[in-house]
């Protein structure tokens, strides 16, 4: 094989051979490719199933195109637009205050601004709506969602502001831009991708939200699908509405991907020195009050309300599972789903990080579609599939629920695994082998230690999402099983706030644990990059 190239004319016979041999650097192992492809097929499953289901329904057109749909569309759209706008303002503002100004107690706020991620939207909603009946409808939903979801903008924007190259701002200043113009034209431009990405996540969360809106009496696509499914048992109607919801989400995801593609390659070098902080001067007290207000609204109110209701517990507890058993159940699901999601994400991440090519990119991008499928729709697709074609096999069983979680939160796991693989470039393995270490030992001594923290990060992200998940759990949980969120939900629906509150608090505690670990991991990563960047 190697000999005949020399004999053959050097250039003539090449093209046919290229495909087979060009690969020795980037040759994709067939097994890896097959695994990644299988994962992508599995991920696309619910979406494809939903399409087939809707297509086979006779009156799908009539179900989609009715005045009611238009009303739902209007409700959903105006809330999404308004809440995303609010989240962008709150998240970007908070990130700017923490990363780029001399706001007092910055370290505290850096943590406090992220904590709402661990508080489920329906708990924030519970906190506010049980405070006053006036908090309901559109304005209630807007208030609650802004406070509950803004960290999704805050996190990426803060990271971008922290890692952005201060040299760009300095150059702008030296070219005669004032501080304000520099902020608008350079700083915000640097953070643009982060803002867009965060806004997309907010919009998807709002589209998929059920519990918070149900509590506030605000009707969106998701609440209506839930009602049709659980109350009217109308599968066709639910599937038809889901189509519109998924279409909305896909438009958002595609729009974000397209707008991201227009900007060139990301800067790869770490900044040499941390950016300058602006002096707030006389605005400092105002900024402090604003930041405190945000934290009070997003954390203080829900936690305080739960505490208040717990203290009111005088009546005998209603029937329900114990706090301990619900906690164990929830944690068990979280661990299983986290592990499964990381396992599923590994081949896709490995392919896209180690073997960059069109195919790998395509496969990786296809998993973004999952982002556009709300939890309720995944649950709907899985339960329908199991009932109609599986003879009820697996329906409302723990494995199916765990599988649904893993699908739903796959993108989170992928983020973690990708980050971790980027920490372990192939050259470390090469060096290790040239030092006389066998491949299997190389994995144990080099790859695994480098990758492990990122895998744990992906696992934690999935875990905390599972702990705070309500909608899909309500549909798919095994009969008789209550998780923290479902038990909270049923108490809350019965207006047994005193019984509901402890479940909410334990849920927040359970979700907050990995959040703290995650925060520390990403912080260390950033500092290490800063350190090595200063050397290079």
């Amino acid at each position: 094989m190697a000999l005949d190239t020399r004999v053959a004319s050097p250039r003539a016979a090449r093209p046919a051979r290229v495909a087979a041999r060009a690969t020795s650097a980037g040759k994709v192992p067939p097994l890896l490719f097959a695994l990644a492809l299988a994962v992508c097929v599995v991920l696309a499953g619910p979406l494809v199933f939903l399409l087939l289901e809707a297509a086979s329904a006779r009156d799908v057109g009539a179900l989609v195109f009715r005045a009611f749909t238009a009303e739902l569309l209007w409700n959903t759209a105006r809330l999404t637009v308004a809440a995303v706008a609010a989240c962008v303002v709150l998240g970007t503002g908070a990130a700017f205050l923490v990363e780029r100004t001399d706001l007092p107690f910055r370290r505290f706020f850096a943590v406090a601004f992220v904590v709402p991620l661990a508080i489920p939207d329906f708990v924030v909603s519970f906190g506010w709506s049980s405070l006053s009946g006036a908090i309901s409808g559109f304005w209630g939903a807007l208030l609650v969602m802004s406070l509950a979801v803004y960290p999704l903008v805050y996190l990426p924007v803060a990271a971008s502001l922290r890692n952005g190259d201060p040299a760009e701002e300095e150059v702008a200043r030296s070219l005669g831009y004032g501080p304000w113009r520099t902020f608008l034209r350079v700083t915000l431009a640097q953070a643009r991708i982060a803002v867009l990405g965060g806004a997309l996540l907010c919009a998807l969360v709002i589209l998929a939200e059920y519990g918070a809106f149900e509590m506030l009496g605000y009707q969106t696509f998701t609440t209506e699908i839930f009602t049709e499914l659980q109350v009217a048992f109308d599968l066709n109607g639910a599937a038809a509405l889901s189509l519109v919801l998924v279409a909305l989400s896909i438009v958002l995801v595609a729009g974000e991907l397209a707008s991201r593609g227009r900007r060139g390659a990301e800067r790869t070098r770490a900044p040499r020195h941390p950016p300058q902080r602006h002096r707030l001067g006389r605005l400092r007290p105002i900024a402090l009050v604003g930041a405190t207000g945000l934290v009070a609204g997003a954390i203080g109110v829900p936690v305080a309300t739960c505490g208040y209701w717990m203290a009111q517990a005088t009546t005998a507890p209603l029937a329900g599972v114990s706090l301990a058993s619900a906690t164990a159940q929830t944690a068990g699901y979280g661990v299983a789903a986290g592990a499964l999601a990381v396992v599923l994400a590994s081949p896709v991440a490995l392919l896209s990080v180690r073997y960059q090519g069109v195919l790998a990119l395509l496969l990786e991008r296809s998993t973004y579609l999952v982002l556009a499928v709300p939890g309720l729709v995944v649950a709907l697709a899985l339960s329908t599939a199991s009932l109609r074609y599986g003879g009820g096999f697996g329906y409302q069983s723990a494995p199916l629920l765990i599988f649904a979680y893993a699908l739903l939160f796959f993108p989170l796991a992928l983020v973690g695994v990708r980050t971790s693989l980027a920490q372990a470039p192939r050259r470390f393995e090469e060096v290790a082998r040239s030092l006389g270490v066998r491949q299997r030992s190389v994995f144990r001594r080099v790859t695994l230690p480098l990758v492990a923290p990122g895998l744990a990060a992906g696992f934690c992200l999935v875990f905390l999402s599972v702990v705070t998940e309500l909608t899909a759990t309500l549909v798919l949980r095994p009969t008789g099983v209550e998780t923290l969120s479902t038990q909270f939900w049923s108490y809350q629906q019965n207006l047994s706030y005193a019984q509901a509150a402890p479940f909410a608090l334990v849920m927040v505690g359970l979700a907050a644990l990995p959040s703290v670990a995650l925060g520390r991991y990403f912080d260390r990563l950033a500092r290490r990059q800063l350190a090595s960047g200063a050397v290079a």
Partner: protein
């Protein structure tokens, strides 16, 4: 021929990626214990060659032997971990999760782990054993990477542009230090670089990689003084390439007649290309009486002052000639626009003129 097998022997190595041919039959032999440099422009396939030797990539054809042992040949392959090749990558690539000491001990069997301290001593990093890699400067990281590679007592040490990421001030010092350590260790070394200064000053023997083949492999002096062709001459430093005519061991150019060496025999009256290194051109102010009889009048067009030396671009007055570049040690004592006298000192190198090079600019200066 010496009795010991060569430290490294490459024969007919070919490699292509996609439709791009990167290595087109590389032959190279490095004597055991020698310090060799592989010099090439960026993208000339230097790093690919290193990776083939280390075993990270497989060649399309050809063979690699290290210390007389064939590690790569058609139908035969020794795994990277069994080649005893100490690899020092460009960015050091210290394992970020291990301390400096653990990095150095990485390739050592358990019972020999204590040797790490001695190796750190060797590279002058003894006090840093407990640090983590990200706490070290670039030069320190390079030294640790070197110690790590030497730990396995390699038959061959490969250095992939190890100094290119360092500050210029630091570079010379680290370079010198690494050269010393490697010579003391006595292993065969192949250093890949695009920096001619580095290759010429460090190595016993320099191979120039060009368009996928070794264009010339010689000692630094032979390479610089007697490059195989004009293109190599220009690649290896500043060069004036003049047209000339050969006659009886001499060539005559605009600068007059000079003794000449050539790769082959030049015919009488044959048109030739003549290499004149800038340091072979002498110049003094026109008023200076020390100028010899045969010197020519010229005008200084431009002056690049470097402190230790200066490059002076002059244009001969006598003829409608292209400019020439001369190098003077220290301050040339002239300024732009000044009239000077220029003459050629010593023997030159000449090649039969090729048709393609007639349009080449007579002066090639790399700065």
């Amino acid at each position: 021929m010496s009795a010991a097998p060569p430290g490294l022997a490459l024969s007919g190595l070919r490699k292509h990626f996609g439709s791009q041919l990167v290595l087109d039959g590389v032959d190279l032999t490095v004597a055991s214990g020698a310090f060799a440099a592989l010099l090439g422009a960026s993208g000339s396939g230097k790093t690919t060659l290193l990776r083939l030797i280390a075993g990270f990539e497989r060649p399309d054809a050809g063979s690699v032997a290290i210390g007389g042992r064939v590690v790569e040949a058609p139908g035969q392959r020794v795994a990277p971990e069994d080649r005893r090749v100490g690899f020092v990558p460009q960015e050091a690539a210290l394992f970020p999760h291990l301390s400096v000491e653990a990095n150095v001990a990485f390739g050592l069997p358990r019972r020999r782990r204590l040797e790490a301290a001695a190796l750190l001593e060797l590279v002058g990093m003894a006090p840093y054993g407990r640090r983590m890699p990200h706490q070290l400067s670039g030069g320190q990281q390079q030294r640790v990477a070197l110690a790590r590679a030497l730990a396995i007592r390699p038959a061959l040490v490969l250095l992939d542009e190890p100094f290119s990421s360092l500050d210029p001030n630091l570079r010379a010092a680290v370079r010198e230090e690494v050269g010393r350590i490697l010579r003391e260790a006595g292993s065969t070394v192949l250093l890949v670089t695009h920096d001619q200064d580095e290759a010429l000053s460090l190595a016993d023997v320099v191979a120039v990689l060009r368009r996928g083949v070794v264009a010339q492999c010689a000692t630094p002096r032979a390479l610089y003084g007697a490059p195989a062709d004009v293109e190599l001459a220009c690649f290896l430093g500043e060069a004036n390439v003049l047209e000339g005519r050969a006659r009886a061991g001499e060539v005559t150019t605009v600068l007059g007649a000079a003794p000449c060496g050539a790769p082959g025999v030049l015919g009488d009256g044959e048109l030739v290309e003549v290499l004149v290194r800038p340091e072979q051109l002498r110049l003094v102010a026109v008023s200076d009486p020390s100028a010899p009889q045969e010197s020519l009048a010229a005008v200084v067009e431009r002056l690049d002052y470097h402190g230790h030396d200066a490059l002076v671009r002059v244009r001969l007055e006598t003829e409608n000639a292209a400019p020439l570049v001369a190098r003077t040690l220290g301050d040339p004592g002239v300024v732009a626009g000044e009239r000077v006298r220029v003459w050629l000192d010593g023997a030159v190198r000449a090649w039969p003129r090729r048709a393609v090079t007639t349009s080449r600019a007579a002066v090639s200066v790399q700065d």
